[in-house]
């Protein structure tokens, strides 16, 4: 009996430790791949050169206008970023604006693609082609069907 209790305690301890150590890993997997690394990063000098122009976007990625890169605030850092669009939010002329990460030269080399499979198929490859069914698509019922 005593032995069973100690086994149960040990198992509980193992489970608890496991869940504690697994939690940060799971969180890391869900976290944006690049934002965490880009946040609070100062915008480099390359992004502020006098000749260069940068594009301003809204949060949905709609292009607004082009402004000189010299309008970026001297102490500008990345305040926020949009992973899917590759936009970062920085201060431009004192206002928070969304700009393209490439315009301000914020690259994350670890995020660069490394192709592991070539884009070719064997000549005998067969691939089903489908345009997909729309959400309002109702299959035709057989003529003799009484329906349900």
């Amino acid at each position: 009996m005593k032995r069973n209790v100690s086994l149960a305690v040990a198992a509980a301890v193992v489970l608890a430790v496991g869940s504690f150590t697994a939690a940060p890993a799971a969180h890391a997997a869900d976290a944006p791949r690049t934002c965490a690394k880009a946040l609070k990063k100062p915008v480099g000098a390359a992004g502020k050169s006098a000749r260069k122009k940068i594009g301003l976007f809204d949060a949905s990625g709609k292009f607004l206008e082009t402004v000189p890169a010299s309008d970026i605030d001297a102490d500008a850092v990345v305040e926020d970023c949009k992973e899917d669009l590759g936009l970062v939010q920085i201060k431009v002329s004192g206002k928070l604006q969304w700009v393209d990460r490439l315009d301000v030269d914020i690259r994350l080399p670890e995020n660069a693609p490394c192709v592991v499979e070539s884009n070719r198929q064997r000549p005998d490859h067969v691939e089903p082609v489908s345009s997909g069914a729309g959400e309002h698509c109702e299959p035709t019922k057989p003529e003799n069907s009484r329906g349900g």
Binding site: G55, G61, L102, P113, S118, R120, P123
Partner: protein
Amino acid sequence: MAEAQPQPARAHLAWWARVIVALAFMSLLGVDVLKVGSASSQRSEDGVLRIASPSYVASREVTVVLIDDAYLGKVGAGWPLSYREQGLLLRRLLSYEPAAVFVDLLYRHRHAREGDGDEPADLLSPLPEVDEGARPPALLFAALSADPARTASPPADGGARSFCYHAVPEGGLTNDRLIDEASIEKSLRMPFGVSRPGAKASDEPVAAPRPASAPQLGVGLIGWSGCGGDYPLLLGGSSEAATPAFAMFRAYCARRDSPRCADLAADGGNGPAAASSAIAARFIDPMIVRWGAFPSSLQSPFYAAGVCQRATDDDGRVAAWRRWWRSLRQLALGAIFDMRLASEPELSLPCPAVPVIRADALLDGDPAALRSLLAGKAVFLGANVSGIPDWVTSPVHGRIPGVVLHAMALDNLLVDGRSYLRRLPDVVDKLIKATIVVAIALGAPALLTRKRLLLPDGFKAALGFALWGVYALFLISESLVASGRTYWYEALAVIGVAIAFDLIKPTETFRYALLLTVMAAMALVGLRFGWSPWNWIGLLLVMAATLETLKSFLKPTTPKPFPHPASLLAPVAARLFRSLPLLRRSAP
């Protein structure tokens, strides 16, 4: 009975009779009985293009940027990409200052309903402008071609126009634009410079007014028929209906200085319209696209090891011996199976000669590597997304995304200019074939009866046997070093064939190997001069059939001994067969 007597009349079969026999077999090839003619023609062409692929040296001026499933998954985007996402992508691409970009995506239908926020204008509004004094890049989009039979002005002979011409049509080239206007979303037609179908270019505004520093927009026509597997550069006999490769060639040459761009220069005189027509006439013939076997080293930073076959050196060159070795392997192993099915990249050659990078590289890739791939280059942006069919079959790589075909066609133009590979005129092609076949018919007596004309039979038999032996050894050595497929059964089969031929027709192997080598070599040499690979496999079949038929007329018809007296294995075989009652009579 005079059954074993040689008949003098047969031995001197008239030359014209021999020619008739040869031409009869060639006619069978021409009539294409059971599709033997077309099948052997396709096989001949594919074989030559594949064997010659290692000798193709790419221009290093063309790059493909691909949107694929991995890219969509990584950025969490759906398909099609919204106009905003595409606008951002184009903005990023243009920030590397390419000379010209072709977008191989069709904008036929709106992605969303009007008022949903994602407007077609969002595609073009983020495009960057160049600094004052600099030449803006060309940005060309795909548009479907209109059927020239319905939309183009009819030719002088009153017939209907077709997509493909091998020479300037009667009445000369037209300047019909041949664009299917409906293939472009209506709000994008004006920015793209698309006019109504059938209208002459000079009648319509080319594009809505845009700043001089903005990318210059235009279209390249996709979609054609009747060209076989060839790539047309101009459609419907029109100097204005350029397909993507030729539209990009013009756009690139207007911005960069390349030796082959001289082929777009006018020879002088007769006004701009005549000059434009004369230039277009140089490119009216569809192209047989040549494919390379060595991918560019410039793309290596974006690929994991072992995905592609060995790339070029850093300077774009490849040692001559390496090219020869790759050709030899393609020839030797390609003779027994389709190398594109191999799992080993060195055999299947999965990567094309133009660099292909994934679209997300633009944002996070090494800037220096990206500049070397994109700055001042001709760039093709295309997609390879599951369920959206845009594949072409290459004789070298297998099935590849369609955008790579456009890129390779442009690369061919930048490498060979107006001397790109094209089909020989039909008359010339037939004349060459007829000349070869007639020559064989005339030389048949010497080939068949004067056996010691060049080499003694024993020597020929030994050479033939050695050829098979070397081939078997090659297959065995490949099996020993290969990580994927092995060739033990094939090697065993080759040994079996070597033994059988040595016992029955020991000198034939050498004779046909010689013919095969001469035919293949002629096709390869022709390639060097821009002549299309002719049907050398079909010709070989015609020659074999002709020689075998003429043999019965030119040679005595005495029964053949078994094993053949010239056989290397005869002494061993004779001893062996003596112990087998059924074959004893045949032994010498």
